[in-house]
Symmetry: C2
Subunit: 107 residues, 2 copies
Amino acid sequence: MKKGSIKVSVIYPNSEGKKFDMDYYCHKHVPMVGSLLGDALKAATVEMGIGGGAPGSSAPYAGMGNMYFNSVEEFENAFGPNAHEIMGDLPNFTDIEPIIQVSEVMI
Amino acid sequence: MKKGSIKVSVIYPNSEGKKFDMDYYCHKHVPMVGSLLGDALKAATVEMGIGGGAPGSSAPYAGMGNMYFNSVEEFENAFGPNAHEIMGDLPNFTDIEPIIQVSEVMI
């Protein structure tokens, strides 16, 4: 993604007994978000946690979803009106409270 | 990045009084890592934290660096022999202890 783009990451911390349905996330949630955000969303990526820094350790995060926008303003304008519907879908695939990180792409 | 690729994220949690020299990170550290890992490293990205989920909130993470590999084995073979030199460079740009996440690219 080009330098200066805005990356919004939704990061799901792992903890014992928590659930995360990666199949639903990839095949229902992410397409729904893409459809709601429309052209403002330049790209989306999803990763599943498989390990940590030490060999054999568990992943700090069960999964991450990343959305790219041209600017914070375009993100806010696209996300704001759909926030309720998007956040309302979370219980369908997880009981983890996500961490939201807004970043600027440097490299 | 194509589905099934391995993404290794080095994530620097923000906290008061901690330092993170993004200029050194982008212009010295990341190129050094790229040069040490060679062809095994398929791509690298860097993001700087600029905000959190709530308007005006601070970023949970000061920065993130992401490295992409074809497999966990290729990552381990490339990183292992260089781990000492790479980790030894951290005090040159930060006093934050990073979180390491190994992920599989789903989308």
